[in-house]
């Protein structure tokens, strides 16, 4: 393992997504880490335990007996005014649920890396987005990564955004497809990260000299105002994101946006993706465009706050949008699908795309070029979207009398 020489540019190195997440937290000079191991998150905290043990600033790594306690430690430490980090996955994130609300309501800039893993049962350690999207309404911002470099950068960006807006931020990476996949990454120099992310200066914190109450009883005369403030702070985080991304780009040369688009201007069909599938989709879109197919791609990085205005701009006048969901709101649609429909509803009918919903890749089912090309093909041939979500690659045990639609089994 390399050591960081403060003030010098570290050479590019090869890291897994989980190691990159740990390096992101380390370069952010995290002060309190508390976590409970769960596959496939474990190597995040293994790496971070190793790094923080060698850190030259005061820090604590707090071992706990559950994810619920891990988040409780992060909340307590964050109330104390220090920079705190945790990582989890799937059932672990679900166990944190109550305290996720507490971190957001307490306006605490905790950063959490969720390694997207399917929810049990059936027991699965493989990727889908059900765990993180089930936490949609907790008041956390959420960013979905599509490469190992993204993860490293987004942990640092998340601390900056969280502390600026006083809200917690979740950075999401796909189990195995990113978490255990190694690629070359650029480690920013510590001095550069220090310039981008100065020490946390909380507006208020626990102080024995100046006693205060936190999270006390709040009656109907004030509760709603506090909630509205949380909501507006998240919206402000969304407004600030392009500026903060811009600062990061000036520092590192790497550019990101809440919504990223390729080949949308002339597209007949635009794929809308999130997470690691976005990366494969870029390759597929490039291949199809080389064959003169007018296909585009929109990658949604920022899920909360939802970038509705930007999506309305980017998708204005596009005939068809195919939304790929590695998740399902059972009994309704894929979650990105329903969010997009809600965001585009206010557009004029003439410039509003038709929105096609596809669910695929649940529980780690591989999403390759063939599945993505099938989505493009189905969207092309269907004049109007089906009323129900189309499941790609799910072989359902149906009776022989039921006919499968071509290619949709």
């Amino acid at each position: 393992m390399k050591t960081i020489e403060p003030g010098t540019e570290a050479p590019p190195t090869i890291l897994t997504g989980n190691q990159a997440a740990a390096w992101g937290a380390f370069l952010s000079r995290v002060q309190v880490v508390s976590a409970y191991p769960i596959t496939p998150q474990t190597t995040v905290i293994e790496t971070l335990a190793d790094l923080t043990a060698r850190a030259d600033w005061p820090n604590r790594f707090v071992n706990v007996e559950s994810e619920h306690s891990a988040m409780a430690v992060c909340i307590g430490a964050s109330y104390g005014g220090v920079r705190t980090f945790t990582a989890t996955s799937s059932q672990g994130l679900a166990l944190m649920h109550e305290l996720l609300h507490w971190a957001a309501g307490g306006r605490l800039p905790v950063v959490l890396v969720d390694v997207n893993r399917a929810m049990a049962p059936g027991w699965s350690i493989w990727t889908d987005q059900q765990d993180s999207l089930s936490q949609r309404d907790t008041g956390w911002a959420q960013f979905y990564c599509s490469s190992v470099q993204d993860i490293l950068d987004h942990v640092i960006l998340a601390f900056r955004m969280a502390e600026e807006a006083s809200v917690p931020v979740m950075v999401v990476e796909d189990a195995f497809v990113l978490s255990h996949t190694a690629e070359a990454v650029s480690l920013p120099a510590p001095a550069e990260v220090d310039r981008f992310l100065p020490p946390r200066r909380p507006a208020f914190s626990l102080d024995v000299e100046k006693p205060r109450a936190f999270g006390g009883l709040l009656g109907p005369d004030w509760y709603q105002e506090v909630r509205k403030d949380l909501h507006e702070s998240l919206l402000r985080l969304g407004d600030a994101a392009p500026r903060i991304y811009g600062e990061w780009e000036r520092l590192t040369g790497r550019s990101y946006a809440p919504v990223e688009a390729w080949g949308v201007e002339d597209a007949d069909v635009v794929l809308l993706t999130s997470g690691a599938v976005s990366s494969t989709a870029r390759e597929v879109v490039a291949t199809l465009r080389a064959r003169r197919k007018r296909v585009g791609l929109v990658q949604v990085r920022m899920f909360r706050p939802f970038p509705g205005e930007r999506l309305r701009e980017v998708l204005r006048g596009v005939p068809k949008v195919a939304v790929l969901d590695r998740n399902c709101s059972f009994g309704h649609h894929g979650i990105f699908h329903q969010e997009l429909k809600s965001a585009l509803y206010s557009m004029e009918a003439a410039e509003r795309p038709r929105i096609y919903g596809y669910v695929l890749g649940l529980g780690g089912r591989d999403v390759g070029p063939r599945a993505l090309q099938e989505v493009v093909r189905l969207t092309e041939v269907r004049e109007a979207p089906e009323p129900e979500t189309t499941w790609i690659g799910a072989v359902l045990p149906e009776g022989p009398e039921q006919e499968h639609e071509e290619g949709v089994r």
């Binding site: 090869i14 493989w126 195995f176 996949t181 390759e283």
Partner: protein
């Protein structure tokens, strides 16, 4: 894009082999992406690890089903695992094998090369005498078989990846690099027989 699949058994270090290949390829100027078989692994059961190399950024994030090259760490896997599944015709299989005996079943349009990595690794004291660790030795053989990177890249990679013992591992890798044998292609053999038959 070059895709590689490594076959081993849990505990033999297939993932480390893929990581060393990634670092060596990175030094040779390639973009790299390496990943294990996604899931749970147990000691002794057949496992696989994967690598992608390219001169341009690698965007594909899917399983590898049609590898260009295959590395087999355990001689017995040639009989028990589908090591040639999906292989591309112009690729190469690099086998750890004490001899060329029994390798005919692996022959195909691809090149087939072998080296006795177990003997080399044992002699260099890598692992134990009864259970030598051949993963780093096989990376040297892979470098010789494919020419994707040079031994200096392997040495640099070993220094980066291994916590200790990079020198012994590099020496074993170099020996495997030099000792690699290529099986005569059955196609070439058939053509030769045809040619010889015609000349008679």
């Amino acid at each position: 894009m070059i895709e590689i699949r490594i076959h081993g058994r849990g505990g033999q270090g297939a993932v480390i082999a893929s990581t060393v290949i990634a670092h060596a390829s990175h030094h040779a100027g390639y973009r790299v992406q390496v990943f294990p078989e996604f899931g749970v692994e147990r000691r002794g059961v057949p496992v696989t690890a994967f690598a992608r190399l390219d001169r341009s950024p690698i965007l594909l994030r899917t399983k590898i089903t049609n590898p260009d090259h295959v590395v087999v760490l355990d001689p017995a896997l040639a009989r028990h695992s589908p090591v040639t599944d999906g292989m591309r015709e112009d690729g190469c299989i690099v086998m750890n094998s004490p001899s060329d005996e029994g390798l005919e079943s692996l022959q195909g349009p691809w090149r087939l090369a072998w080296v006795d990595a177990t003997e080399i690794a044992a002699r260099h004291g890598i692992g134990t005498a009864s259970a030598p660790i051949v993963n780093t030795t096989m990376v040297g053989a892979f470098a010789a078989a494919t020419g994707l990177f040079r031994m200096e890249h392997v040495e640099a990679a070993l220094r980066e990846v291994l916590p200790a013992g990079a020198e012994a591992n590099a020496a074993a890798a170099l020996e495997a690099f030099e000792a690699l044998r290529v099986m005569p292609s059955p196609v070439t053999g058939a053509l030769q027989a045809l040619f010889e038959g015609g000349a008679r």
